[in-house]
Amino acid sequence: MRGSPLIRALLAFIVIAMLGWPLWRLTSSTEAVATPVSSVPATEAKAIGLQLTFTAVPKSFVIRHLEKDLWSEPTPQAEMEREVTIPFPEKGVDLIVKIEWPEGAALAAARVRLTDPAGDTHEKSVWGQGTTEEVLTFP
């Protein structure tokens, strides 16, 4: 074989590198970063019915679900209802109900009636004076 030893060495290096690259790719333990794989499907959002009944009309109220306001009214009435869409897993939902009752008013109550996506109704009550905040779990 003729030619400069430097060129021959360079050619040999190129051949080794070409053969070595796929071999290294096959045997290397590169870290495959997994994305969160879950076989648990996300709970689909569905329509539920909410009905509120107050023994004394409050100054204000807000119903929160997973840190978001679901329903609040600037001028509440003694009875109200609304349909909202939220994920409703089999294990149920927690709703935070915050009510501001009129100043100096006697102990008052609110009844929260929830109609779940299957059409079943569930009721919970909240009692209080001043400001009341409670977590209600349905069903």
């Binding site: 495959a32 970063v33 969160p36 879950s38 648990v40 709970t43 840190e67 939902v93």
Partner: protein, 318 residues
């Protein structure tokens, strides 16, 4: 004249009596006499130590034998502990087989004090005995057996019951202080009510179908039951031995199949295993949970310990 002089000069016996009475008054007013007057309580649980201090107030002198930096599962009383227990009027233990030495405690000290096994006063949940150590000769259960879960204080409702139990026992020892103990217990119960409310509001930030706790120490069942969580206890994650590849594969499968966002290993002896699990599942590693009682610093009170655990869980699973 002689009579008049006799009236003016103090008699030696009267002066001596005066000194004696003053000495007695001084003795009763001294701090050591006040301490001796207090109810002596020995506690083998950090949570019960706090309860006894809160309910008893300045009417009790509480010795906490198990301190926040100690593992109650591994604790063994020293001769100095036994000496204190021997003088105690009330001895508080968590019970539900947590203190394997409890039988020996009273026998060895010969104390006439009341041994109050607080945890035995309310229902138990069952857990696998995975602590890998002997609970004492009377226990007779083996590693892997189902035993009573002793970590009852992770239910605030149970802690409320414990407050009433300690209040009633202190009142039996010192009926004159019954009103003080009742008032102190009511004030502490009010704080626990407020804590319960805070916990419910914080946990409501998590969807109920995402309340899954993967821990290496099966200690949070009472917490789980009270707050709607499902527990997946992983054996082997805290062990000093390398878990088998089959075990690691099982752990990964559980985390993936349940869609678990974070795991809470109590102590990491196998960082390689943990790295593999988190790489395969993309689950986060949650902050340390206080499983066996109060911690240190901000977690050094019941409220602080509970809030630290809830904050760690909610922030990791959100």
């Amino acid at each position: 004249m002689c009579n008049h002089l006799a009236k003016q000069a103090p008699r030696p016996s009267f002066a001596l009596m005066k000194i004696f009475v003053l000495s007695l008054v001084a003795l009763f007013l001294s701090p050591s006499a006040q301490a001796a007057d207090k109810i002596r309580v020995s506690s083998f649980s950090t949570v019960l130590t706090e309860i006894a201090q809160q309910v008893g107030g300045d009417r009790v002198e509480v010795t906490g034998h198990v301190r926040p930096d100690m593992d109650p599962h591994e604790f063994e009383p020293k001769p100095s502990d036994l000496k204190t227990v021997g003088d105690a009027q009330l001895i508080l233990v968590s019970a539900k087989h947590l203190e394997g030495y409890v039988g020996k405690l009273k026998q060895a000290t010969g104390t006439k004090g009341t041994l109050l096994e607080v945890g035995d006063k309310f229902p138990s949940l069952k857990m696998k005995d995975d602590h890998g150590h002997d609970h004492g000769p009377k226990d007779g259960h083996k590693h892997g057996d189902l035993v009573e879960d002793p970590h009852w204080w992770h239910s605030i409702a149970n802690t409320q019951k414990a407050v009433k139990i300690v209040r009633d026992e202190l009142a039996k020892i010192s009926p004159a202080d019954q009103k003080t103990f009742a008032a102190n217990a009511a004030a502490y119960a009010g704080k626990l009510d407020a804590l319960q409310k805070w916990v419910k509001t914080e946990i409501a930030k998590l969807p109920r179908d995402q309340r899954k706790l993967v821990t290496s120490h099966d200690a949070f069942q009472y917490f789980a039951k009270e707050n709607g969580f499902t527990i997946y206890a992983i054996e082997g994650l805290s062990s000093a031995d390398q878990p088998s590849s089959k075990k690691v594969a099982e752990i990964i499968a559980i985390i993936k199949s349940q869609g678990v966002k974070a795991i809470f290993p109590e102590s990491i002896q196998n960082p390689k295993v943990l790295k593999e699990i988190t790489r395969e599942t993309a689950a986060k590693v949650g902050r340390e949970l206080y499983a066996d009682g109060l911690g240190e610093g901000a977690a050094g009170t019941y409220e602080g310990m509970y809030k630290s655990n809830v904050n760690a869980i909610v922030s990791a699973l959100k």
